[in-house]
Amino acid sequence: MFKNYIKIAWRSLKKQAFFTFLNTFGLAIGMAGALMISLYINDELSYDKMFADADRIYRIDADIKFGGAEIKAAESAPPMAGALKRDYSQVESTVRFRTLGSMYVKKVGSETSSKEDRVTYADSTFFEFFGIDLLVGNSKSALTGTNSLVLTKTAAEKYFGSTDVLGQDLLLDNSDTYTVTGVIDDMPKNSYFNEYSVFLAMAGNVGSREELWGSNNYFTFVKLIPEARVEDFQAPLQGMLERYMLPWAQKYFPGMTAESFAASGNYIRYHTIAFTDIHLHSDRSSEMNATSSMQNIYILSFIGLFLIILASVNFMNLSTAHSLKRAKEVGVRKTLGSNKMNLIFQFLTESGLIAFISLIAALLITMITLPFFNGFTGKSIAIPFSQPLFWLLLFAATILLGFFSGCYPAFFMSRFNPVKTLKGGASESVGNGRVRNALVIFQFSISVFLIVSTLVVFQQLNYIQSKDLGFTKDQVLLINEISPLGSKTNAFKEEILKMGNVENVTLSNFYPTPSWRSDTSFFQEGTKSQENAIQMQTWDVDMDYLKTLEMDVVAGRDFNKQYASDSTAIIINEATLPILNVTAQEALGMRISEEIDMENPSYYTIIGVVKDFHFKSLRENIGALGLHVENNAENMAVRLSGGDYSKSIAEIENIWNTMAPGQPFDYQFMDEAFYSTYNSEQKLSQIFFIFTILSIFIACLGLFGLAAFNAEKRTKEIGVRKVLGATVSQISYRLTVDFLKLVGVAILISLPLGWFAMNKWLEDFSYRIEIGFGVFVLAAVLAIMVAIVTVSYQSIKAAIVNPVKSLRSD
């Protein structure tokens, strides 16, 4: 019987090629979209699970409030790891990292160096801790010597052409020589250590051995013993504060007690985060690697689910609409002795078959589009063809989908009354289409919802990009790593300033672009108590900084070479004023210092107040900031006045090559660096965009099929109307307007939902748009236009048919 069902199903699908195509295509696209999203989510969820004992590994985080600033630190003090191991029997082992950002690496004796983007100091326990095998070298001793380092396979091959490199020497940042003591496989893409390629022995980092409890610079991981429960570790962890932190702080703030510390509103709260949770659940401000959020996973899951439901609804709609054609068959089969169950099975077989054909198409679509998808998500996802579990899930999902989609049509059709259908009263059996209408409304509601979401995300991004940031980010070229210039740095600056289309040049390590920065505590002259500490960032800049970045001074003055005293001057931003509790004018001339504990602290004098500019993401508020002049810049910013950028860049590179021969010239435009802060929003908007298009497309496929069906069902009516004198436009209007009513209802349903959901999303931004009325109008107009285009083809086609033909055919 089943074989027979398949045979019949195959034939009827073949016979109704157009209908089958619409159904299969819609399902295939929905499945491909959902499949890609599933693979993406699966990849996101797989982070760091590949490491041995990953389930026992935790990182120590701390929420710190001290002097006005709140920090969500992912890093700990250098002695933290050692103390944990000493004090807590649950701790089996620890490992610390101190990241160094990018470094220039070259083989000793070689001319050119190349940039390694992610370099970190790591404790010697690194390999054993994470169960990482060395390709060459000894895992216990590899990272013990002061100047030893371990490379990944790719890095080793880059510098030496092989992995057989034990004992070879590398020069880092043109100053330090390191010896290669091991090679490991490249870090998995879906791991926290992705793209880290150089691991330096912690022994070479002097600070790592200091009993400094006040600075948090070391990512500290602990591995608990198998018997330990992390809950039992969390509470005692807080004891670190009283045992180590306070005694250390008392050296600087004599008389400080736990009580007075807490009374001043300050706190340090230690807690752990599971290693495998970091990628999706960490809320820390700085991480060793870009993390994502569960919110994105939820949004994506919803979109994936939407797509599948849309496609499935399409299927139901088209199938029930199409059942008009199958009504007679149902009647005949019933007279041949078929019962409802037989028919249900038959139709489910058909939908199952369609689902499987769609699956094949979906796999093809996925294979073709996956490289692009990987390109823009920065992942290397592959379809896991060799995994039985994947196939099992895929088949199960396909069968489920076929069943889910086929169920309603099957039950619907199996109920047909044989007497009626055989008499030709099939359209009666097909019903008034209330369910179908509801399904169309449902589909369009989802589509309109997605349109609204996409528009809002785009608007917010646009807002971010065009917002007055307090500085001008356009036309600024950032040249990274100018340290190879050494003493020629100023000469380089002078040379560039001579260029025709260069307006200004400044030297600094700090720019309002994403990078890691920390706050320091300052004290106003005269205060002696740590309660009045001012947490602010201090940026080392040169005298041309404000001019080059086009920042405004609202009080006082900019730095000026004429004043020798400007070496101890500081310019603060407006956000610092409330903390100092003064107005901009009052702030001028005030003195602040980092060194409260010294006899003769060195003071900075406030000479100016700069208008607030955004240096963090627009998700966050602007914090306190001070700028002072210091000569230790590693980066340079060049403001161009327009013209041919590529020519200017080439010119600057020429100057660079004469002054720093053989050194890589690394640059980027500031606006690009700025946008990278919003990478996750950018990606979200792209994903929204793609899947909105897909969902609209699927909804249109369904509408197209329904319109075709509707036109067919009403052929006779149309014929009669024409004979009675109706014009083509009158008839196509009649046919179209019915569908537009449905789209109208969908719009009414989805606009409030979209408004609500997107306001929730916007809450994450300190600086955000108001969702305007225009968004809704635009979404509605878009949906209606798409619907008109889809439906009118069928309507017009039906309306221009010669009435004689249609009347005779009945």
Partner: protein, 221 residues
């Protein structure tokens, strides 16, 4: 006795009123009878046939088929009873267009869950008997009306039913084709003892049968 209808009423509600399609029908049919139902258009012939064939329900009265009371049976049992004992022939043939002649014949056997080898044999027998072996791989649209009805009759017969119900089986056929089908019915009735109830407008066709039932406005006269 094959079947018995007792005081069957069937009606529909139209504009708040009952419109009777069948009124107080009493009918006894013995095995081996060949009955013709006649009457003007709209008199309820098809309705009665569908009720007898269990394709349609009725609102009042009792219906016994082989001493089972149909009106109290669940749909599943009714369907089984139907599958086992009844074959239908229609005016417009109602063959399944997607299936070949051979597959059309096989269909009722599939629903009766008959084994593949047996099905093959029965289909081959039928093709032989109706002289349509050469047409077995053709689709219905490739056959003439008469040939299609031949297949329709063969399909009704293949499950070895006790009762064949035919609603104007020759309505769409020319007189020669029509005679062939009627002769076939007669032969089936006489040689195989199949009970036949046919609806017809033709006096000539009615004469093939042993008894005529006349209907007018849903009432037996």
């Amino acid at each position: 006795m094959l079947l018995q209808l007792k005081n069957i009423f069937k009606w529909v509600q139209q504009g708040g009123q009952r419109v009777f399609l069948l009124k107080d029908i009493n009918l006894e049919v013995e095995e081996g009878e060949f009955i013709s139902i006649m009457g003007p258009s709209g008199s309820g012939k098809s309705t009665l046939l569908n009720v007898i064939g269990m394709l349609d329900t009725f609102d009042e009265g009792e219906y016994d088929f082989l001493s089972e009371s149909v009106h109290t049976l669940k749909e599943k049992y009714r369907s089984n009873l139907y599958k086992e004992y009844i074959g239908f022939v229609f005016q417009s043939y109602h063959l399944l267009d997607d299936l070949t002649v051979e597959e059309n014949l096989e269909m009722p056997l599939l629903y009766k869950k008959i084994k593949s080898s047996e099905r093959k044999a029965l289909v081959a027998d039928m093709l032989d008997r109706f002289n349509i072996v050469g047409k077995k791989d053709l689709f219905p649209t490739q056959l003439s009306g008469g040939q299609q009805q031949l297949v329709g009759v063969a399909r009704a017969l293949i499950g070895k039913p006790k009762l064949i119900l035919a609603d104007e089986p020759t309505g769409n056929l020319n007189s020669q084709q029509s005679e062939e089908i009627m002769a076939l019915f007669k032969k089936l009735n006489e040689e195989d003892g199949v009970t036949i109830i046919q609806v017809t407008h033709s006096e000539k066709n009615a004469e093939y049968g042993s008894r005529i039932i006349n209907l007018l406005d849903g009432r037996k006269i």
